[in-house]
Symmetry: none
């Protein structure tokens, strides 16, 4: 018999909001201000006033993290437990990934050839989507096997996609996506830290050959001729990155003892939630874009908090606006999030966390390594003197500067869910509480 | 010949006060305030005014530490140098522990049987003490050997005790104490990280058998019949935890170059001091309880500072009051500590440190993972703008947020005892100064 331990009456619940890409850098257009500073955010400010604030390095100071690594860190999973971005994307796109299969995150992109070298002109092919993207998906899947390795390309949201390889391959290969424009596509090669060099070499060769075929298949395809005709950049390449394989990981519920649910629309965040074993929910109007149903997501979270301990809401919109450099839209998006948050402001006994996984700058249109603003409001929190939630105020907050990996232990503590460090209650001698010990019987 | 290096003239000394369990959480009874805020503490406030303040995570953010791990960390010893709580308790209770013997921290507890399962009703058997506890000690020691393994149970302070096992056994077994009430006693099993699984299995079996005998010995014992008759919970079980064996550790004096003394009354803190090789002192009125001789302890420290570099004073009382949930007593205890501190306020050339090893909440009656308040006052310190020593003010202090393991290096620095990082003066290439290098001879 394995025995559960009863809850303490004051084990509070957690509402956990990630406003993807929320922070920013001083913008000339805003006279040195940021979208978060320019936005009218009475609810976030009230939460900050009632709560504790601070800055957080999602990974470590100065490191600009991608959303996947940052969110895993914020959920308490260090980088060595990352299965690779491709796996997260595949899970989030409901691609039935089997153990041993190799998955990549892809962008449908625009390249230009010069002396046989492919130069990246647009990493998102003008944010290609809809029928054009579907047609490209079909053409790529018609390429067929290479050296006995099967390929499955699945278009997901906008220009995004996932590529799965079926064969005895290595995940230790480099990205072909240079993450920049006007530079050449990178050749795929074995990573320097690969211990399976031969297999990695074979994998890289197959990927170089496959993407060569992708280019020659797509460059003269009708869909792209039509796009060029109307002034749109052609989707003539698939930039791959984030090689990954499904591994074993401990679920969020088991690791931390929170029964957790997620409300997310964009594939990668759905993938994170699935990878961590959170129950995944959507709302009809959730799009992963600035036109998402903000209020619907917050209301869904409130409903889920009736039967879950921890509800993670992901809102992608601020990141989307930032990557476009559209600071006006970013301000609007932040104000819409703030308006929706009013529904949870006065919910008692719920610890409310508002933060982001990384800063996305409207100026560089990229993630930065700046620390992110964070607020925690609710039971057991000592309010600090910060009354406004923005980049320029929260550094004075009572949380000071924390790391992403510290966040869940802090929330465990504030919701009375931690047990004493060093308590050796279960076979695994965990630091944190597990309700899975064997009772002592005298019979 | 090993050669000592002469002191620099301004190598100051350290008065190091641990007010066990000092911090707290917002209490409704104090309108959201804490005992430290409610207490009248002119001396601590003056030390804060003259000094630097901050918050400290004894282990790491959010982790509620037990006193033993926290104090080891604060003295600069990471968790992998922890010999096990049982060893600390045994040393502190002057039980002559030999190398290889296995020691546990114990509570005399009250359990209730249902279908052979023992449910914890009171982890401290109504804080049993005196003759009742001594009688239980005698009965437990009469049980005798199991499979050639001898047992020694020694009652220490109130409900506390130490169990020592003599035989070829493993320390890699789990706690039987679930650290909660109304849940079953946990069966002792090998820890999952045990590398000596067979020996750990044998150890666990013997412990389960021994504690079964303890229960059947105590449940109908006269001492417990008498206790029940007068409405007291029976001491009918021994909850064991913190398996440990004496290991090798570098003394505090050798590791940091401070000649250190400790003034402590409660067994565990005496154990910490002994384990670290500090010279241990007591005062006649030191009890480890709220009725201790506060002034006597501080005066003893002042006297010891004449001939020691570092004097650690441990006051258990705030923790005792907090575990009882008695916030009124906690306020009184804090005020008594403050009164006693007046004797050291104006001592020149002594660096004064006031902090705690963990927060103990009067609400949950347990340790929390909140950061602890700390002040450092004396030579070489830049005073900050914090004029009041309490949870709500010190987060604004100049120390910001530090970790327990950072504290001794900070004190080494302020007392001019550190040498530059990377200097390899001794064979061990230590980061910190050791006066044990061999002189160069030209003969």
């Amino acid at each position: 018999m394995i025995c559960g331990v009863k809850s303490m009456s004051d084990k509070n619940k957690v509402f956990f909001l990630i406003c993807d890409g929320l922070g920013d850098r001083p913008l000339n257009e805003l006279k040195g201000g940021t979208p978060l500073e320019a936005a009218d955010t009475p609810v976030m400010d009230e939460l900050a006033y009632r709560g504790i604030t601070g800055i957080m390095d999602p990974i470590s100071p100065g490191l600009p993290p991608p959303s996947d690594s940052a969110q895993l860190a914020i959920f308490g999973y260090p980088f060595n437990q990352h299965p690779g971005r491709g796996v997260i994307e595949a899970l989030g796109s409901s691609i039935p990934l089997k153990k041993g299969e190799l998955a990549f995150r892809c962008n449908i992109a625009t390249v230009e050839e010069a002396n046989g070298i492919l130069y990246v002109k647009d990493r998102r092919a003008g944010r290609i989507k809809g029928d054009d993207a579907k047609e490209i998906e079909k053409l790529v899947n018609d390429i067929g096997e290479i050296k006995g390795v099967g390929f499955l390309f699945k278009h997901t949201l906008e220009h995004r996609g996932v590529l799965v390889l079926r064969g005895n391959l290595s995940r230790h290969v480099t990205d072909m996506d240079p993450h920049k424009v006007d530079v050449p596509v990178a050749k795929c090669i074995p990573r320097e830290d690969a211990k399976d060099t031969l297999k990695a070499r074979k994998t890289a060769d197959i990927l170089n050959e496959f993407t060569r075929k992708v280019y020659f298949t797509l460059k003269d395809a009708n869909v792209n001729k039509e796009r060029v005709k109307v002034g749109l950049p052609p989707g003539n390449f698939i930039l791959i990155r984030g090689a990954g394989k499904l591994g074993e990981t401990e679920s969020f519920n088991l690791k931390w003892g929170f029964k957790a649910a997620a409300v997310a629309a964009a594939p990668m965040y759905r993938g994170i939630a699935k990878y961590l074993g959170m129950d995944l929910y959507t709302v009809p109007g959730g799009t992963g874009l600035p036109n998402t149903d903000y209020k619907g997501k917050i209301l869904k979270a409130l409903e889920l908090l009736e039967r879950y301990d921890f509800v993670y809401v992901h809102i992608k919109a601020p990141d989307v606006s930032s990557h476009k450099g559209n600071w006006k839209e970013k301000i609007e998006v932040i104000e819409k999030i703030d308006g929706a948050l009013e529904n949870i402001l006065d919910s008692n006994n719920i610890l409310k966390v508002v933060t982001t996984d990384h800063v996305t700058s409207c100026k560089s249109k990229m993630h930065t390594g700046d620390p992110v603003p964070i607020l925690i409001s609710g039971p057991n929190v000592f309010p600090d003197n910060v009354k406004r939630f923005c980049e320029r105020t929260v550094y004075r907050g009572g949380l000071h500067r924390i790391k992403g990996l510290d966040l869940i232990p802090i929330l465990m503590n504030l919701t009375n869910r931690s047990i004493e460090f060093g308590v050796q209650l279960t076979a695994k001698a965990r630091f944190y509480f597990k309700s899975d010990y064997e009772p002592f019987s005298v019979q």
